[in-house]
Subunit: 546 residues, 2 copies
């Protein structure tokens, strides 16, 4: 027997409808790419999104068509999103920080029909446009006055383009499982893989992400999403903020400390979110200027692990609560947030910081487990680590065009590629990437733990740990270090420093001193290149064993 | 094109799974119907709900079968709910406060196959059991020691019943639109009508109800649902509380002021919800005992309009924030909550209380409009009132077996039967029931507004306003009053008192003095009976017009 409740599909554009109706005059403030600060509100955003929808249809864009955006967080980008969503087309956020070759590959793989771009990226696009044959038109997110001369095909200024229609338009209605958005993940190996969100997954995810133990944003908050909306579905902020009716402050292209501080202070931002690198810049700026953060209540930090000192500084020096979070593009992206359950709520000082180093617990709608390589579930004791697997209504079940099928298990779990512990209260902590973990005699050693320990040595500038083949143990850890300028260290000195701080069998079998460690474009250690460099390396313990 | 996200149906039992996994040791405390206070937790609730599910299947209960519960808020009732839900059967909460005839009618209409009941209601059920032919077995929510002697068919004590299985059971999985629960609404006229919730609607509703501008409960809260879960789907508290991992305090059968206060104080309850009558008893008890409410942060008041004095007392005397709310059984039940948007947040004293008299604004997932009788939308100015219509994924689209089809419009809106205003910020205020509003010359007069004004006269004990046929104006208001004991008032005196406080054309055409006004079982003015009594009444203005 079915229930007798209304058929009300979970469509993303219902979010902007709700915001326009119930929070219509809530400010949406942008530092525009052109320079000046521009203020609008949800009612106007919706009205103009309707024009975008109407104008897209006039250009022949239909349900299922991909519309690329190469743009910063601005009100026009937000309007474009909802306009695209409202006709059942698919927003495809392209990350401008990718290598040019990757951008070309992604746009072609997605077969985007239109490209919406900020003026900033017009020169970049002009260089590659002849290799983007599927793009029929470039819409530049600006007005006539700021429109650059360009060779881009059918290029038009956004303001001129939407001025051609009257906005007398009704959103299309369709099944909630219709594709809504697309975001590619780029690993260190292989081609990028496309994640295809549905309207349903985006709406459910925004609800989950707004719960009191998640972001806990209300209509009284002022939210500044510093994380770009092209990064991992924009951490859902383009959906969850209008859903709860919070005001928006959009930083556009300027994410340096001083620019962010100006917005935080002037617009009394209460909630913000970004990766640690951004906050490092802000904290350095505050240190220099003596600025304070009297309005900011909460900052969500994710993308990579939040350093302990950063959490401490935000909380103790500036009175801002840090919410450490973890997610993936494949998860829409939210996986877990480190808000305090009653078991930890009373903790203070170091004990609280210890908990806050964890990536936290998932809201309703995200399930997690850790397993060994054979798929056997591992205990939640905060120590045992295993492959982290997840499932839920906002987790991918496949990549676009069937790429990377191996990470999707038949029983519905997605293998995150991360290795993690989960404690007795369900707090998860990432300990390594699965491909970097060292498998020694059937047991796992965390490369990240060893690296973090090694860089604590006063003579070491940077450290990386990789597994080297070993006839008896399969793999054993090799510690690769870059000494600090002018310092000389010995293997014995470094291993002696590590002794007693880790299990005996975790001790690296050897230490290699190098001048540099290879990095990816985003600053992560490139372990594939490092492994290549040390291919055929023979550990002294191997020689001894033979 | 469809999105590529996981198929993860929104099933109610996933809520107790989440609670057991991530908040397993969170206390669930009950004042048992047998007397003592019993403590359990979400992990145990889930483990025992699995036994209920397994045991129900052994008794032949299958997907779509209705299982009635006639029970107070206790941990066993909660276990029973999730057990029923977990096999795709339908919980049917029966309100023990209904007239016996109504209970008989409802159980037969629903064709319930099993009845789970508290020991309290065994005598009542014994009296009507021979008229409940569809019930195959009575499960009494108690243990062997407290099991009464009874003639009820196949009666068994719940604890004995679930002890017959081992709990080694896996929830059934099915479409999220499967019927989950059933609750009958009983109007003042006609037979009760059954609302049939789906798993999807319950889960979505729990998410909507947990947002920061809704209940805003987190895992750090201790929630006491005083509103019984047989009342309007229990205001979703049986779903939203475990969903967010808050602790539960269940008052069982005792809802007097002293009993509630004991629980509020002893278990440091931070969040509670009930109808005004309950809070009146609590406040009277506090007045007497001098008790304080240091732990309680927020109280949700709904079911009927919350008196201004009650809000004021809670907030100013006890420091407890009141959230005025409105909903209907047909809405799962949440419609709106009066939390403060930034436009009102700074208000203090009387101005804030003015806003709090409104029933508030809806969360994402509830749409509202007000229309005139022709269906034309009316402005949101806080003054114009019209029929309140709603829609959303947790709003009914039909009643069970097709009853009452006239309230469901073809375009998907449900006519609430209430008349309301909506202000510029989307705050809704109920002004009347549609059938009680007086339609004078195409314009509407609120009977409730006139009543509230009239009872302000020092000589009046109670007042009711009904519409009387008028040849020129269709209807004109007749004010019916019960003078206070020993008081004598005149028509001129009372109308003189009202003069200037309302629009001229709202002034009652006549005043009738009576000894009593008829009431329903739940204490509401029975306007149908009153209209019957004044059938054929001729207004003096009619005589003058002829």
């Amino acid at each position: 027997m079915l229930g007798l409740m209304q058929d009300w599909p979970l469509l993303c554009h219902r979010i902007i409808d709700h915001a326009a109706t119930y929070h219509g005059n809530r400010p949406v403030i942008t530092r525009s790419v052109e320079g000046p600060i521009v203020e609008t509100n949800y009612a106007q955003i919706r009205a103009r999104a309707l024009k975008v929808a109407q104008r897209l249809e006039r250009d022949g864009i239909r349900m299922g068509d991909r519309v690329a955006t190469l743009a910063w967080n601005t009100w026009r980008h937000l309007e474009a999103w909802y306009g695209i969503l409202g006709i059942g087309a698919i927003y495809h956020t392209v990350n401008p920080r990718l290598f040019t070759e990757q951008i070309v590959w992604i746009v072609n793989h997605a077969e985007d029909r239109m490209m919406m771009t900020d003026i900033t990226f017009v020169p970049l696009l002009e260089k590659i446009a002849d290799r983007l044959p599927t793009i029929e038109r470039y819409v530049v997110l600006t007005d006539a006055a700021h429109m650059p001369e360009t060779t881009l095909k059918n290029a038009v200024a956004y303001e001129d383009w939407i001025a051609e229609v009257d906005g007398d338009f009704v959103w299309r209605s369709f099944d909630e499982n219709t594709a809504a958005g697309m975001c590619y993940t780029s690993g260190t190996t292989g081609n990028p893989k496309g994640v295809l969100y549905s309207h349903r997954s985006n709406v459910l995810h925004a609800l989950m992400a707004s719960l009191p133990d998640s972001k806990c944003m209300s209509s009284r908050d002022v939210c500044m999403p510093v994380v770009p909306i092209f990064h991992a579905n924009g951490w859902s902020l383009a959906f969850s903020t209008p859903m709860v009716g919070a005001a928006l402050v959009l930083p556009g292209a300027k994410m340096d400390g001083a620019s962010l501080y100006e917005l935080l202070d002037k617009y009394k931002v209460t909630f913000t979110a970004a990766v640690p690198t951004v906050w490092l810049m802000l904290l350095q700026d505050l240190e220099k200027t003596g600025g304070k953060l009297p309005y900011l209540k909460r900052v969500v930090i994710g993308g990579s692990a939040c350093p302990r000192a950063m959490t401490q500084t935000f909380q103790e020096k500036y009175g801002v609560e840090v919410v450490h979070a973890w997610g993936m593009t494949e998860m829409s992206p939210l996986g877990s947030l480190c808000t305090m359950k009653p078991e930890y709520e009373a903790l203070k000082g170091d004990a609280r910081l210890d908990v806050q180093m964890k990536q936290g617990h998932p809201p309703f709608g995200v399930e997690m487990k850790i397993t060994d390589d054979a798929g056997k579930e591992l205990p939640w004791d905060g120590k045992t680590f295993g492959r982290l697997k997840v499932r839920g209504p906002a987790v991918a079940r496949a990549y676009y065009k069937g790429a990377g099928a191996e990470v999707f298990e038949r029983d519905g779990w997605f293998d995150t590629g991360d290795v993690a512990t989960i404690d007795q209260y369900g707090y998860m902590q990432i300990t390594d990437r699965a491909k970097d973990v060292i498998k020694s005699g059937g047991e796992w050693i965390s490369s990240i733990d060893l690296e973090n320990l090694a860089v604590g040595h006063p003579k070491i500038a940077e450290a990386a740990v990789i597994g080297i083949r070993h006839p008896k143990w399969d793999e054993r850890p090799l510690l690769v270090v870059v000494p600090k300028k002018g310092q000389k260290a010995t293997k014995e000195e470094i291993l002696g420093f590590m002794q007693g701080k880790i299990a005996k069998w975790w001790m690296p079998d050897d230490v290699a001193f190098v001048d540099d460690i290879p990095h990816t474009a985003t600053g992560k250690i490139q372990k594939t290149a490092l492994r290549e460099r040390f291919k055929g390396y023979v550990l002294p313990t191997v020689a001894a064993a033979e």
